[in-house]
Amino acid sequence: MRFVVCIKQVPDAANVRFDPEKGTLIREGVEAMINPFDLNAIEAAVQLKEQLGGEVVCITMGPPQAESALRDALALGVDSAVLLSDRAFAGADTLATTRTLAAGIKKLGGADIVFCGKQAIDGDTAQVGPGLAARLGLNYATCISELEFIKDTNCLKVKRAWEEGYDILEIKLPALVTVLTCINTPRVPSLKGKLKAKKANIPVWGAKDLGLDTSLVGLSGSPTQVVTTCVPKFEAKKEMLEGDVEEKVDTLLNRLKEAGIL
């Protein structure tokens, strides 16, 4: 079986700051890392490979530096990696991103199962997984917290979380899933994996290699235009209530009554 994992390199969330003037992220000096959800996607794929055999290929669309995310992935049990990188890909929205990723996966020869994270912690749209599934004509399920391969029916049995509960679904392969962080605990990298990753040859595919029309990728292929961004200001009055629980509850009740809420 071939398992393809889509990963995105994101700035380390803990250290990232926003430039309120320019409305952009301050990326300088902030370490890049694999999107946390995608670490779980890698782990899910590697576990399935260990169980069923086959190979795990990691793919990312990003600037040349995104190669380091792929090397990190290779140290986690991924067998090979491809970087989709081209000036023309810059500024992609979710639509253009899925076009590029779909072309990359096709060039790889397709996949039995594609794994994505539920969402990227910077873009946060959670659209790339479903969009990619639609584009590749794959059955899919999002927000997966459990997963099991059913050999007899060639299905993935998955537990899909939603606000009030969960569904148990069976989806026929080839399929795509987007995973939650609770699905597994990502393993620590291995030394042998790191040594292998350091030497690995990671091909870089551009628009030409993928046979993509440059007007359909990157900014020019993106119907979304980010006009402006702003940092929300928290200007509401705030007050810390003092005292023990009883006192705090009394004060809170009084405040709510005063405000006419109760």
Binding site: S190, L191, G193
Partner: protein
């Protein structure tokens, strides 16, 4: 910030980074609980196995990474920064593996080293007995030949990983009257008949590490479990300890570094007399001494480990120096860290009280620091006698 350049290769730096990552992500979050519950750190052992760290010092042909004493020290230092009870569990597996690596024949190496290297099985080393601590020559456990078997009788005491490990290297008397040539080394497997374990010891520190008695009651093991030659037991034990002692030094360095990190962080935040206690010169001087001693110990441990890897054979004195200096240092630095945190340092809410409790073992096991001084003293005596001639 100026950091001493120890000229690590890219691979060595990788080992440091990986061990540190495991310490931060897997060890630090659970160390207090493991300590409190005296719980054996199986989950972390699995992580260390997954990371290939059990095979650092084992040749590639046996599934290891082909590194040496230095690579092992680098990993031990970073893991010890997280918790030395966990690190001792890991290190004791190497202590059990060294005799096989150093004195095993091809068959023994192929049978046991791959499982130790992959972390699939833990190993342990059994020398100490109730009446034989520093005086290892006083051991009473015997091994008697019986046809195609050796039959072991006796009790080993305070064996790290006892009951948890699968592979044990045991020193037992084979010819009592032959003195230093009277003992031999054996490989005993957990499932061997007549082999059982005493209760788990309750300890002041190092509480996540399992320390148990090994009880041999007509324990029959096949002939081919003899390591090296008959009569080589004490030599095997000494060579094993020589190779392992720089690692204990490295554990001291990592532990002391962790204590310093906590102490500086605290000193910058704790306000007394209207200012951070860091601004008091008395505190600064303590921290300065701690940092300086740590760096000196690190430099010594690294140099000794590299000397060993470069092929030096006469290493007893050097290994003893690395163990002695770095572990005395760790005791002092962890004690001072508690002092800097004051009453808070004495409370379980902060990690330094555990560090201080844990540090004490480093001056005791793998040869007390008095015994290290004996080793160094005897070596000096010998060196200067030779020079005079």
């Amino acid at each position: 910030m100026g950091k001493v350049n120890y000229f690590l290769t890219e691979e060595q730096q990788m080992i440091v980074d990986l061990a540190r990552q495991i310490a931060e992500e897997k060890i630090v979050p659970v160390r207090a609980e493991l300590d409190e519950k005296e719980e054996f750190p199986w989950d972390i052992m699995k992580d260390l196995a997954q990371a290939d760290l059990f095979g650092l010092y084992i040749p590639e042909e046996y599934g290891g990474l082909g590194g040496g004493c230095f690579e092992n020290c680098l990993a031990l230092e970073q893991l010890a920064w997280g918790c030395i009870a966990v690190t001792t569990t890991y290190a004791a597996s190497a202590l059990g593996g060294y005799p096989i690596l150093l004195f095993g024949n091809d068959e023994q190496k192929s049978k046991y080293l791959p499982d130790i290297a992959s972390g699939k099985k833990l190993a342990a080393f059994g020398l100490t007995e109730a009446n034989a601590g520093s005086d290892a020559g006083a051991i009473q456990t015997t091994a008697v030949e019986d046809g195609d078997y050796w039959v072991l009788n006796g009790t080993k005491q305070w064996i790290t990983n006892g009951g948890e490990a699968e592979i044990y290297t045991i020193i037992a008397l084979t010819d009592k009257h032959k003195g230093p040539r009277g003992a031999s080394a054996f490989i005993v497997e957990k499932s061997d008949p007549g082999f059982s374990f005493g209760k788990k010891e309750r300890k002041m520190g190092l509480r996540a590490s399992a320390t148990r008695e090994l009880i041999f009651n007509d324990c029959r093991i096949p002939k081919d479990r003899l390591l090296g030659r008959r009569g080589q037991g004490f030599i095997i034990a000494m060579k094993t300890l020589d190779l392992a002692r720089p690692g204990i030094g490295a554990i001291g360095v990592g532990l002391a570094q962790a204590a310093l990190d906590e102490a500086v962080k605290y000193a910058k935040e704790r306000i007394q007399f209207g200012q951070p206690i860091m601004s008091f010169q008395a505190i600064q001087h303590m921290l300065a001494d701690m940092a300086t001693q740590i760096e000196a110990a690190r430099a010594l441990v690294y140099s000794v480990a590299r000397t060993i890897d470069a092929g030096e054979k006469d290493i007893a004195k050097l290994a003893a120096m690395a163990k002695l200096f770095a572990t005395d240092m760790a005791m002092k630095v962890t004690t001072d860290a508690v002092q800097i945190l004051g009453g808070y340092g004495y409370m379980k809410d902060y990690p330094v009280e555990k560090m201080m409790r844990d540090a004490k073992i480093l001056q005791i096991y793998e040869g007390t620091n008095q015994i290290q001084r004996n080793v160094i003293g005897q070596a000096l005596n010998k060196e200067y006698t030779i020079k005079k001639k």
